[in-house]
Amino acid sequence: MTVHSAHPPGFAHQFEDMEQQREAGSLGMWVFLLTEIMFFGGLFASYIIYRALYLPAFEIGSHLLEVQFGALNTAVLILSSLTMALAIHSAQVGKRRAQVWFLITTMILGAAFLAIKFTFEWHHDYIEHLVPGFGFIIRPEWGAAGQHVPMFFCFYFFMTGLHALHMIIGIGLLTVLTVMAHRGRFTPEYYAPLEVSGLYWHFVDIIWIFLFPLLYLIGGRYIGGGH
């Protein structure tokens, strides 16, 4: 039996050493992200099918979204990925306060994303009668494609909603991590929870990287765009 006393804090005894534990933890998070790819993937696949079948309706729906908020949110998330990466970097070089500040900044950016989405976008869409099941009104100027426009908005709300749910969970994770980091739990020898949560956060960012063009930029935004 290997010697216990030499193991750093956070060592789990089913493993032989910290290296095995780190590799297992990392592989475990990647396998989990694989399941998330398939989970979101079912939605993406359905979206692709219906977009192929109802392109005119999807273009109409897409043009009703406001690109500036989508773009702003994209920038916010990319910045939050940077701060997350820098938080981990701070742990790798042993800077405790920097870790905490970067984690808090990441959380603030995540919250900003949600605020922009829920207040400027979702609420606005609700007022404009563009939420299926909540007073959706099919506008006559949409023409023959009108009956399928609610389908686009179903996908818009389901996909951004599921994404937002994952953001909220991510912010919850970050809260726990911030407390742990503040207590000095993460050192250059042991920062696995940070690294693994970083993977999750980056993954949520990647989902948005695809959602933005797929939802906001269908059929182009040029004059006369959408055919």
Partner: protein
């Protein structure tokens, strides 16, 4: 390989410190992170769900004694076959071998002290229980009548039954599967003992690994599908709603993308058990180890390419049907490879007919029948006539009951001495295996004939000329039911009154057999170093006790 030599024959059963007696009390069980205890927690829950699902089957077979139905209203009958399917598929078959035998054996077979994530393992059991509670709530709040397949738009817009609780229950339990699969994949990759290369692994591990791939890739898709279904019922609008352009066939694509690989989740672990049983009870190494290992991976991968064969007659494009038909023929090949290899292992083996072997031999015959009848269904022209009939019902029961359940029982009997430290009464075990075999065939062979003659499935009534075959099937079901009760009784009895088991009563090869029965909590005093191939019975010095 270093082993602890504890002479348990003289000592009373379980007198050494082992995982069962190391700690006492309800909390030590409900908060355990020991994979062996978690396996037992699962064993209890899964057995409970098996008998609930079986109860619905009994009601169905009693009802079908009469052509006009003998027991219940048609609406209730719809609920019976739905609940039977939901419970048996999602709450019994999918978790069965992986969560019980897999959880217990994977760390032991690879020489590890536990799985990679023991707390996730415990969480997966709680998630299973919570999901089961939602589904049982659905049962007592009036049931569900959509079929276990939840096809839209009936399930999304028209059924007045407890669809959301059931879908929610299945959704939640899906995460239990995902966590189990995740744990197995990481453990097998990262925690094998020194010297245990991939090609020295027991084939049970290969099978569990392949199953875990399916857990990971497939389960999330049904999770999102049921989630969308629940949302649509709640909001009265959604992506399957024809009013806004929704396609009911899309639901079927998403549903079967998981549910076809799911049937391989149900059979692959059983095939893994088969490799262990056939080698031990022929005292021979497996014929064609790498073929069997790769066939498990092939089945897992190809299983994701064939789902459309469930939709040949529901409105799918015939061009897609052609593609899926060809691929469905291909998926049969690796399964056939396994059957050939097990049979070749038996050839010139030193065969003994203990209960586990009786189950294994039954498996070979029944799985082959089920698998071959699958080919009739993979062929478009014949499927047109056989789809929606009892032929399908017989086909999948031959595989899932004649195959998977028999393998599960064979595995339970094989590893029972290791898990409990007790031996069960041999005579009763063999008797029960035979009763199950006879009862099973009497139940389901007539159903092949009924299907061929045109009796539709999921109907509460049937034309009078089918009555004789239906009565035969129901008679078989009663025998089968009794057959399942017998092991429940003697296995439970053996836990208290069975004679003590030594470390290796079968004289089997495998790291799990080098530990005492039951094993200590940490599995191995010293992590073993592996130097020999699997199933090295030719050079074995281990004999049966």
């Amino acid at each position: 390989m270093s082993t602890a030599t504890i002479d348990v024959h003289e000592a009373p059963a379980g007198s050494h410190v082992n995982y069962l007696n190391a700690k006492y009390g309800v909390k030590s069980w409900l908060l355990t992170t020991d994979h062996k205890r978690i396996a037992l927690l699962y064993l209890v829950s899964i057995t409970l769900m098996f008998f609930v699902g079986g109860f619905f089957a009994v009601l169905m077979r009693l009802h079908l004694i009469e052509p006009q139905g003998a027991l219940v209203q048609p609406e209730t009958y719809n609920k019976l076959f739905t609940m039977h399917g939901v419970i048996m598929v999602f709450f019994f078959l999918v978790p069965s071998i992986p969560a019980t035998l897999g959880n217990f054996l994977v760390p032991m077979m690879i020489g590890a002290r536990d799985l990679a994530f023991p707390k996730l393992n415990l969480l997966s059991w709680y998630i299973y229980v919570i999901g089961a509670c939602f589904t049982l709530y659905a049962v007592i709040s009036g049931g569900v009548d959509t079929g276990w397949t939840f096809y839209t738009p009936y399930s999304s817009s028209f059924s007045h039954t407890s669809v959301i609780p059931t879908a929610l229950g299945v959704f939640i339990t899906g995460f239990s599967s995902i966590l189990t699969g995740l744990n197995f994949v990481v453990t097998i990759h990262k925690m094998r003992a020194p010297g245990l290369t991939w090609f020295r692994l027991p084939l049970f591990i290969w099978a569990i690994y392949a199953t875990s791939i399916i857990f990971i890739l497939g389960t999330p898709v049904i999770a999102i599908t049921l989630f969308l279904l629940g949302l649509e019922r709640l909001l009265h609008i959604g992506i399957f709603d024809p009013a806004i352009g929704g396609d009911p066939i899309l639901f079927q694509h998403l549903f079967w993308f998981y549910s076809h690989p799911a049937v391989y989740i149900m059979i692959l672990p059983g095939m893994g058990v088969m490799s262990e049983l056939v080698t031990c009870f022929s005292r021979k190494k497996i014929f064609g180890y790498s073929f069997v290992a790769f066939s498990s991976l092939s089945i897992a991968i190809i299983s994701f390419l064939v789902w459309g064969h469930h939709m040949f007659v529901t409105g799918q494009s015939i061009y897609a049907g052609l593609i899926f038909s060809v691929l469905s023929f291909m998926v049969a090949i690796p399964s056939a490879v396994k059957v050939f290899n097990w049979t070749a292992t038996l050839y010139k083996g030193s065969i003994s007919y203990d209960a586990p072997m009786l189950y294994a031999l039954g498996f070979i015959g029944l799985f082959t029948m089920g698998g071959l009848t699958g080919l009739f269904l993979a062929s478009l022209a014949t499927d047109v006539h056989l789809n929606g009939t009892y032929f399908i019902v017989a086909h999948f029961h031959y595989i899932m009951v004649g195959g998977a359940v028999m393998a599960y029982l064979g595995g339970i009997h094989f590893w029972w001495p290791k898990i409990t430290g007790r031996l069960y009464p041999d005579g009763w075990a063999r008797f029960a295996a035979l009763v199950i075999f006879v009862g099973f065939n009497l139940t389901f062979f007539p159903q092949f004939m009924l299907g061929y003659l045109g009796m539709p499935r999921r109907f509460a009534v049937y034309p009078a000329e089918f009555q004789v075959l239906n009565v035969m099937s129901s008679a078989g079901a009663s025998i089968l039911g009794i057959g399942y009760l017998i092991p429940l009784i003697y296995l439970t009895w053996s836990m208290r009154y069975g004679p003590a088991a030594g470390p290796n009563p079968w004289g089997a090869k495998g790291l799990e057999w080098t530990t005492p029965s039951p094993p200590p909590t940490e599995n191995f005093e010293e992590i073993p170093v592996v130097t020999e191939d699997a199933y090295d019975y030719a050079h074995s010095t281990v004999t049966r006790v």
